[in-house]
């Protein structure tokens, strides 16, 4: 029962594998994927209050993992609605696209339950490798193989970052003699201020920084966004980041409650990411690249939550990244629908969107203003909780820097709104939306608004579930002891 969501997704992935054995079964594959995603949501809800430790303590099912699995289940459904019929993927491999996507989802759902470094690495790779393929599956255009370039960049940077991460993990293992995170936490405490432990933690974080696109590990982001098909870019930009934040919660909590050096390190990276992402986004012409750079900045905002090294900050970061998922998906649905024949969308091409499709324009405006952090959308509430958490620990400078960045970012977000709302469409034709797209738009607008206006329950749930990880509450730890 505790393992139900993973089993459902795995069964879905296997069914998709069977579907891919035939030919030209895109519709079937899509239906199977949608059914498995809905089944996964149901399974997540059924197992929401489970508590169990599996595989000799390497895999833990608790509130933290279950809440995030539910998020992934819903995210999977939304992403499936987003990618639609995969017009921009090579015809003969479209069913495989769904297969790899489902496989990546299996990896992500497992990721949040892993409490052992070995299983964690395995899940991380299971979630990452299918994505490398998805990037490369874009249709070729005029002999250009930019999607291959992007995929290779993606995989090379990924492998390099993973290598660094493994190196850091080996330090942690060497210091503590265990691969289990729950055992590592108490054993690391006496030596946590030693340079070796700091180096180990810092290097371990690198693998996650890469996933999040934090400053020195961001180089793949704009190129992959640009080279991958619009749908794939939307996927790469959204779901894996939630997984990355979840893993980061586990690793950073090793350094809790007060490790000044780690906090400083995170603060510097957050600052660099925010400035770098926002300043470069100012001059972008391609909407996907713009979102790529703004994604770097948003990763910086999310890191602010970790600087605090406490439960409130982690909960705020999770809340922010879940909100970011919705906001960025809202932008990508617009990209997918505005783009002609799957090509990339420059910002000028958004001109007159309000006449071409009012619903898309509304989705874009809501998404973009939410990214800019204007209330009453989720972006504002997320920033408020992050900044409150940071200021409660006295990081005033970081808060001011974050707000300055929010002000810089307003400009390029406004430029997007300017094109979409204030300009005339010229001779561009109206866009007709199919039903799944409309449903997705309404869901996203509703989600962004609802999370922004009524964040109370969500924040409370995330806060209590983060407590399972930070060890703030005893029950989880005692469950491990019992299992052994």
């Amino acid at each position: 029962m505790a393992f139900l969501p993973e089993m459902v997704l795995l069964a879905g992935a296997l069914a998709l594998f069977l579907v891919t054995l035939g030919e030209g079964r895109v519709r079937q594959a899509r239906t199977v994927a949608l059914i498995s995603s809905v089944a996964a949501i149901i399974a997540c809800i059924l197992s929401l209050w489970e508590n169990a430790t599996l595989f000799s303590g390497a895999y833990r099912v608790d509130q933290f993992s279950q809440v995030l699995k539910l998020v992934f289940g819903c995210g999977f459904t939304l992403v499936l609605l987003l990618i639609g019929n995969l017009d921009d993927i090579r015809d003969d491999i479209r069913p495989e696209y769904f297969f790899f996507l489902a496989l990546s989802m299996v990896g992500l759902t497992m990721l949040v339950s892993c409490v052992d470094i070995i299983t964690l690495v395995v899940s991380l790779e299971v979630s990452a490798f299918p994505l490398y393929f998805l990037v490369a599956m874009r249709r070729e255009r005029k002999g250009q193989k930019s999607q291959m370039e992007s995929a290779i960049k993606y995989i090379m940077f990924g492998v390099a970052a993973n290598g660094v991460m493994f190196f850091g993990m080996s330090y942690l293992f060497g210091l503590t003699g265990t691969t289990s995170l729950t055992e590592m936490m108490p054993r690391l405490q006496p030596v946590i201020h030693s340079p070796l432990a700091i180096a180990g933690l810092g290097l371990t974080f690198c693998g996650i920084y890469y996933k999040l696109a934090v400053f020195p590990f961001h180089f793949w982001t704009p190129d992959v966004y640009q080279g991958a098909s619009n749908e794939t870019a939307g996927l790469v930009a959204s779901l894996p980041k939630i997984g990355a934040i979840a893993v980061l919660v586990r690793f950073v909590s090793l350094a809790s409650p007060d490790n000044h050096t780690v906090a400083i390190m995170l603060a510097i990276l957050a600052t660099a990411s925010m400035f770098y992402g926002n300043l470069i986004a100012l001059v972008q012409k391609d909407f996907k690249r713009l979102l790529g750079f703004s994604g770097i900045a948003h990763a910086g905002y999310a890191l602010i939550g970790f600087v605090t090294l406490d439960q409130m900050g982690y909960a705020a970061a999770l809340y922010y990244i879940i909100g970011y998922f919705l906001m960025v998906l809202a932008c990508f649905i617009v990209i997918c629908k505005v783009s002609r024949d799957g090509t990339n969308v420059s910002i000028d091409e958004l001109a007159g969107l309000h006449r071409r499709s009012p619903l898309l324009a509304l989705t874009l405006v809501v998404g973009v203003f939410a990214l800019a952090g204007i209330p009453p959308f989720v972006g504002f509430m997320g920033k408020l909780s992050l900044l409150s958490a940071a200021l409660s620990k006295g990081h005033l400078c970081l808060v001011i820097i974050a707000m300055i960045n929010a002000a810089i970012a307003v400009y390029y977000y406004l430029c997007v709104v300017r094109e979409a709302c204030f300009r005339d469409p010229g001779d561009r034709l109206p866009i007709r939306l199919d039903w799944p797209t409309r449903v997705l738009c309404v869901l996203l607008i509703g989600g962004i608004l609802a999370l922004g206006v009524f964040p109370g329950r969500v924040l409370d749930t995330l806060s209590t579930s983060v407590a399972c990880v930070t060890g703030g509450q005893a029950p989880a730890a005692s469950a491990v002891a019992d299992a052994r």
Partner: protein, 515 residues
């Protein structure tokens, strides 16, 4: 304590704040443009009539916040949903609700494209504007304060004049960058005071460390000064006013600018009282500069809207001058100036809109002499122009008189510097009036102009009533805010020992009172 138990009887303020959203949602499903106009007009009028209930039930003998509603909202961040009004915010809420139907009326013909979106934007604006004046929780305040930017930027950017995109972006970025430090200050205050509740922060006032107060005051100041706008931060205003559609200009002048001065009154003075005393001379200096500079610049304008826009800078200078005079006359006068400016300048923008609808120009030279064919128009224009230059018997006279008497108590030298500003007001307003009503021997370009229609007279008459009502019998208006102003001054007074007794008894809204 007894009459302030939350959930008194009827959540009047919440209904006023959120019903426009409901109306906007309904408007989204109306197809006919005319029906949309009628629906919005009917709804905003109903809201205006409902808000008169506030006036009737308001108890002017106390400085307490009234019509309080309080409930937990986001426990994780300790943010509450708290609304309530005192005498000062009551006036501004009423101004907002009463000006809204007029905005709909003056856009009746002016807005021909995308009527539905326009009306929805107006209704969302109403929610945000009423919300700002009612919020008793700082986060709630900030949400309304910022949320207003989106519909306003759309109003300017979609239905505005030729340079609308520039004006809209400038407005948005200016205001947004002003409020980033406001947010930092709010969060910082929360950790000093322990809650986001505005009354709690006011109570904490004097106990905050002085250095901290300075920084908070400066953060507040940048944000509010941009909104007012005070002298060096005013450059977004002419652009936004000139390009905005009539209703946008009216809302901007009548309500949005008031938010800056309201912010000074509600936050800067009571929360950072010691810093206020420290910075007062500088703010007063900027106010004087704004009055003279606004007057001089207005005198040089040939675009009618720009002229009125710069006169706004001068008028708002009077408001900030009165606020930072820090005495009863000054603050009462400042609140009156805020209301009067809302009435008079709102009316002037409607007049300019009427001219533009007929002539498609706002140039002072080209509009010369139209009064000869439009006698009713000239009558209204004359009254509002006289009101704007603070002619005795009109509303602005009372406000400016109170502000000046408050200012004289502070410094005579300063008030002598203000005198040219008053004279300039007469100069630019009479110049405009003279050109429009009598200018040129004849203006053959526009023969046979139609005088004001029934709708336009209906639009302007309420404002005309207020011009004379406040001008001839201001007592009801000053009485409503008297206690609140006195209480505000108690909180701002420099000697904390005396004030604390009064303060402790005068605020009942606490988070701890919650069930």
């Amino acid at each position: 304590m007894t009459n302030l138990s939350p959930n008194e009887s009827f959540p009047l303020l919440s209904i006023l704040i959120f019903s426009p959203l409901l109306a906007a949602a309904i408007a989204a499903f109306i197809r006919s443009e005319n029906l949309l106009r009628w629906w919005t007009l009917a709804f905003t009028s109903a809201a205006a009539i409902l808000s008169l209930g506030l006036w009737r039930q308001f108890d002017p003998d106390t400085a307490k916040f009234q019509f309080v509603e309080l409930s937990h909202w986001i426990p994780f961040l300790k943010v509450d949903y708290a609304v309530g009004i005192d005498g000062i915010s009551l006036m501004l809420v009423l101004l907002t609700t009463l000006i809204m139907p007029l905005c709909v009326l003056c856009s009746w013909r002016y807005i021909q494209t995308r009527v539905k979106e326009f009306m929805i934007c107006l209704l969302i604006m109403e929610t945000a504007m009423v919300g700002v004046f009612c919020a008793m929780d700082f986060v709630l305040f900030f949400i309304f304060w910022e949320a207003m930017l989106i519909p306003m930027a759309l109003l300017i950017g979609i239905w505005g004049g030729p340079r609308k995109i520039y004006a809209s972006l400038k407005f948005f970025i200016y205001t947004m960058s002003g409020s980033i430090f406001l947010l930092v200050a709010i969060i910082a205050l929360r950790y000093q005071v322990g809650s986001f509740s505005i009354p709690d922060m006011m109570r904490a006032g004097h106990s905050l460390p002085l250095g901290f107060q300075y920084w908070v005051f400066l953060a507040f100041f940048i944000s509010f000064a941009i909104k007012v706008p005070m002298f060096p931060f005013h450059t977004w205003l002419p652009a936004a006013h000139v390009e905005a559609p009539t209703a946008g200009s009216v809302l901007l002048a009548s309500v949005l600018l008031k938010m800056g001065t309201y912010g000074f009154l509600r936050f800067s003075l009571p929360i950072t009282p010691d810093a206020t005393h420290f910075f007062t001379p500088y703010v007063l200096g900027l106010s004087v500069i704004a009055i003279v500079y606004g007057g001089l610049t207005a005198l040089a304008q040939t675009d009618l809207k720009k002229l009125v826009a710069y006169s706004s800078v001068a008028h708002m200078g009077f408001a900030t001058l009165g606020i930072f005079a820090l005495n009863t006359f000054g603050i009462q006068g400042a609140v009156l100036v805020m209301i009067n400016h809302g009435v008079t300048t709102g009316a002037l923008f409607i007049m300019v809109g009427i001219i533009y609808e007929r002539l498609h120009t706002r140039d002072l030279g080209e509009t010369a002499g139209i009064g000869r064919t439009m006698p009713i128009f000239s009558l209204f224009a004359g009254v509002f122009a006289l009101s704007s230059l603070a002619f005795p018997g009109t509303n602005s006279f009372i406000g400016e008189f109170l502000v000046m008497s408050g200012g004289f108590a502070v410094s005579k030298g300063m008030m002598i510097c203000v005198v040219p500003g008053v004279v300039l007001a007469a100069a630019y307003m009479l110049r405009m009036l003279q050109k429009i009503a009598y200018g040129g021997t004849h203006n053959p370009v526009y023969p046979g102009l139609k005088d004001l229609g029934f709708r336009e007279i209906i639009t302007l008459t309420p404002l005309l009533v207020f011009v004379f009502w406040i001008g001839l019998h201001p007592e009801p208006f000053t009485r409503v805010m008297e206690k609140s102003v006195q209480n505000l001054l108690e909180q701002t007074r420099q000697a904390p020992a005396v004030a604390s007794v009064v303060r402790a008894s005068s605020f009942e809204l606490r988070t701890s009172d919650l069930p």
